[in-house]
């Protein structure tokens, strides 16, 4: 199955949309704009509305998605994206308001943002929330800027952020963005932070420790209390990467574990759709001692009237041109309200149940490097398949033939041939059972007919793609051939 490019469907003279007739007297642009600034040529395809609709509809059918089937991509929390939330975000009162309107004219929007802040503060055990960051990685950077501002205000020029070797790739990259040096901390044989290595690296120039708990192995670090004490002993701050927040909602809170800064991914834990790679939303929560550093404007409520406040000398500034990805926040609030306190706690409970069930069932066939209860995700290793010359990549590709999306592969980096599964709470036992059966079947195929895996997938719109040539001779723009 292939679909012609938009540019190959071009028929000069076709129109896909008509504007209302121009109803004002006209002037000649050349009389008002110097000729050198007037456009000479614009290349763009011309299609009818139906051709456009068909093109994109056909393309959509070449995607795997949560709506089509199981999507156990670890650390991505591919849970169901409720349909009603799309309706809510499209209500005229939410979709058709301009960011420069007066506060008086957007009281509903401001109340919505404030309410979301309050709920997220309660869920994380933090004292204040900013909804400004556009994504998880931007939340990380925002949190690190806050940490830096805190130390700078005290006159402490700290240089280092500690990150466990199981951390997400964005963690160290975000540190570089704000000018921090990264020190990697080893994991111990239980998959948690190696306390001895942490102690060896705790020093006065440590600005903070950035961790995910449960970590990317899906394991809860029960030493978190001790970790917090260690980091705080040198006035370092503890940063919580909320990518795995779906594991603990309503069970424990970063604020109670000793974290000073938290970011959440609304597009993971709070059911807002991933959109094929965005938009997301990455709110950041802080404890009271960091509140003054939050980005502005802040929304303040007084006598049930909401307004913006941007007078604050200690703020880090702004990380986005607006208040945040508003319509994503709307969907997250709709999810919180629908689920309620019980539903949110259940979401984590059943996410953890599903992950443990799958892990237990897969343990007979695959190697599980950390054999203990996991939280919402778990990691297995494909290294036992090496005898047949089969790699984790081959298992991942073979899963596509059965109509499933693959797990996250080759991450975390500390597990050889890693496969990371996150089933989420919205999947039924039937779905898990069918998937487990396929995983068992693939393990058998790896022994009996490894070529089936090495040549997989065969039933997808395209087969394995030549990534090497794509990188060597990049063809990334139709109008400019390599």
């Amino acid at each position: 199955m292939t679909e012609p490019l938009l540019f190959e469907l071009d028929t000069k003279g076709r129109r896909g949309y008509a504007l209302p007739k121009l109803d004002v007297p006209t002037v000649d642009p050349a009389d008002h704009i110097p000729t050198k600034f007037l456009r000479k040529q614009l290349d763009m395809p011309s299609l009818s509305e139906l051709e456009t609709v068909r093109h994109f509809t056909r393309l959509s059918r070449m995607n795997h998605s949560v709506d089509i089937g199981f999507y156990p991509l670890g650390s991505c929390t591919m849970k169901y994206n409720p349909k009603v939330n799309e309706n809510i975000a499209r209500l005229p009162g939410f979709a058709n308001i301009h960011p420069y309107q007066n506060a008086d004219s957007v009281q509903g929007a401001l109340k919505l943002l404030k309410t979301t802040e309050q709920y997220l503060a309660e869920l994380t055990g933090m004292d204040a929330i900013t909804l400004q960051p556009a994504a998880g990685a931007q939340g990380e950077m925002t949190g690190l800027l806050i940490i830096k501002a805190y130390h700078n205000k005290k006159g402490n020029n700290k240089k280092k952020i500690l990150i466990p070797d199981s951390g997400h790739g964005t963690n160290p990259a975000s540190c570089t963005m704000v000018g921090y040096e990264v020190v990697n901390i080893k994991s111990d044989d239980r998959g948690c932070i190696d306390i001895a290595d942490l102690k060896a690296n705790i020093a006065p120039d440590v600005a903070g420790l950035m961790i995910t708990n449960p970590n990317t192995l899906g394991l809860f670090d029960e030493n978190i209390g001790e970790l917090a004490t260690l980091v705080h002993s040198v006035d370092g701050l503890l940063y919580y990467d909320g990518a795995n927040f779906n594991a603990i909602m309503g069970w424990t809170r970063p604020g109670d574990m000793g974290f000073d800064v938290v970011h959440l991914n609304l597009h993971k834990t709070f059911s807002t759709p991933h959109g094929g790679g965005g938009p997301g939303s990455g709110p950041v929560g802080v404890k009271a001692h960091l509140k003054e550093f939050l980005p502005t404007p802040r929304i303040v409520e007084k006598n049930n009237t909401y307004s913006f406040e941007d007078q604050n000398n200690d703020t880090i500034g702004a990380v986005l041109g607006s208040f945040g990805n508003f319509s994503v926040i709307v969907k997250a609030l709709a999810y919180i309200m629908y689920s309620g306190k019980e539903g949110l706690k259940d979401a984590s409970a059943y996410a953890v149940l599903n992950a443990n069930y799958m892990m237990k069932k897969l343990k007979d066939t695959y190697y599980v490097p950390y054999d203990r209860f996991c939280k919402h995700e778990f990691v297995i290793s494909g290294k036992t398949l090496a005898k047949q010359g089969v790699k984790t990549l081959d298992v991942a590709k073979r899963l596509l033939d059965f109509g499933y999306h693959s797990p996250t592969i080759y991450f975390p980096l500390i597990v050889e041939e890693a496969m990371m599964f996150e089933p989420t709470e919205t999947e039924s036992k039937d779905t898990l059972d069918s998937f487990i059966e396929v995983m068992e079947k693939i393990a058998k195929e790896a022994v009996e007919n490894p070529d089936l895996l090495k040549n997989a997938p065969i039933s997808t719109p395209v087969r394995r793609l030549d990534e090497a040539t794509a990188a060597r001779k990049p063809d990334i723009n139709f109008y400019q051939k390599p």
Binding site: L5, P29, N81, P99, T252, A318, A349, T426, D475
Partner: protein, 447 residues
């Protein structure tokens, strides 16, 4: 239990049996007792879909919308016409419930859309290459500055205060945290002062950043700005309004090295500021410095055309702390939104959107100029935004709002020298009668 969780009691029991525990609580046993949340969350109980919809609908109705009022607000977000077909396509679950195309064999839809998006953005900006998109306009400029710094090995950046103040604030926050020396230059008659630029630029300057048209709607002389930048060995970054580029010459043809901008005008709903989309396109020499995801065309094992994420060796998941940017994904669904918009409009439609906006803005200017007590402080060429000065701008804006008109952005907060000045945006969506009403009510409001 929320209906989004499908388990029956019997299934729960079976699953617990398999795992070998009696209750779900046992699976949380590792969390030390003193760290447990041993109380209910202070969040209301769950509710039905209908109740939730009613509550949020009533909240939404507390907002005044641009449908029930007439919007002359701009400043980076514009009330353009959005074809109905777009949202129907965006609501296809195959698009919006997918994630980043990690497995290209089952993500060809998303990947091809991004390739088409990249090609259209290159065409619009006159550049060689672009990425799969960034968060929004302000952060696109942050990334462009970092690219210029990496390319030139220099730290200083010169920008003009005719650049959107919200963008400048984000640049100060993020680039400022990376020891960037940011020099901001003033304007003369609504456009950047090139004499000041020639004086400020030196061999430490990585880039000059200019907006086109600028925050006041004025058309900057980006050709000469690029020349001055290049003579000093710096790059020229042009932050452009994509709709304007159907009427205005592509920055790529006027010497820009990097073109950035806010993609919202390309059919994206206002949504109180987001999600929007940042675009960033560049000349060929800058390919390896480009942040974010990039999609490339290639072949599969059978020689069939296909698409993949490419040049990933630049990115955070490979390079970790050595990556040029921490961006993980893109604004895929919004990129799709703009791609469908451009496909429906085509070159002719897009030119019309730009031309109608231009014509209506120029009509409005001529009508405003007839009003007593209204002055138009800048004489420069403009696209579809202009600045006017009226007595008591704040009270005028309030009176206009009572008539159902969002009359513009008061500029004094961002430019203390521009007291009583208002920035007005006019798109193709405004009608002659709306413009005439504006002028009529403005005339009354300033009497």
């Amino acid at each position: 239990m929320s209906t989004y969780i499908p388990h029956t009691t019997a299934e729960l029991q079976e699953m617990l049996n398999v795992i070998g525990v009696k209750t779900i609580d046992e699976l949380f046993a590792e969390i030390p007792q003193k760290l447990r949340l041993n109380k209910d969350l202070n969040i209301p109980s769950g509710m039905s879909e209908l109740e939730m919809t009613r509550k949020l609908t009533s909240l939404s109705e507390m907002n005044k919308t641009v449908d029930k009022n007439v919007c002359f607000l701009g400043g980076g977000a514009y009330d353009h016409i959005i074809p109905a077909a777009i949202d129907h396509l965006l609501l296809r679950g195959d698009f919006f419930t997918a994630y980043t195309p990690y497995q290209p064999e089952v993500s060809q839809g998303t990947l091809q859309c991004i390739y088409e998006y990249q090609s259209l953005i290159c065409s619009l900006t006159g550049m060689d290459q672009t990425n799969a998109s960034l968060y929004e306009g302000a952060t696109a400029n942050v990334e462009a500055i970092k690219m210029a710094q990496a390319q030139t090995g220099r730290k200083k950046v010169i920008l003009f205060d005719t650049i959107n103040p919200a963008y400048r604030r984000v640049i100060k926050t993020i680039n400022g945290a990376q020891e960037t020396e940011i020099v901001t230059l003033g304007f003369e008659d609504g456009v950047s002062d090139l004499t000041k630029l020639s004086q400020a630029i030196d061999d430490k300057t990585a880039a000059v950043l200019v907006q086109y048209p600028n925050f006041f709607g004025c058309i900057e002389d980006i050709e000469n700005i690029a020349k001055i930048a290049h003579e000093a060995g710096a790059l020229c970054i042009v932050c452009a309004n994509p709709i304007s580029l159907a009427l205005l010459e592509a920055p790529g043809n006027l010497g820009a090295d990097i073109v950035t901008g806010e993609g919202q005008p390309l059919g994206v709903p206002l949504s109180f500021g987001g999600p929007y989309i940042g675009f960033l396109a560049a000349k060929k020499a800058l390919l390896r410095k480009m942040p974010g995801r990039i999609v490339g065309k290639t072949l599969d094992l059978d020689g069939k055309q296909g698409f993949v994420l490419t040049l990933q060796a630049r990115e955070q998941h490979i390079r970790r702390e050595k990556a040029g940017s921490n961006i993980c994904s893109n604004q895929a669904l919004v990129a799709l939104n703009t791609t469908i918009y451009m496909a429906l409009m085509g070159a002719e439609g897009l030119k019309e959107v730009a031309l109608h906006s231009f014509q209506k803005a120029h009509y409005m200017k001529s009508e405003l100029a007839k009003l007593e007590n209204v002055t138009i402080p800048f004489t420069c060429s403009f696209f579809h935004e202009l600045v006017i000065k009226v007595p008591n701008a704040d009270s005028v804006l309030k009176k206009m709002e009572e008539k159902g008109i969002f009359a513009g952005i008061a500029l004094e907060k961002y430019y203390p020298n521009l007291k009583d000045c208002i920035l007005i945006a006019i798109t193709e969506k405004r009608t002659k009668s709306e413009i005439d009403d504006y002028c009529k009510y403005l005339g009354e409001a300033i009497k």
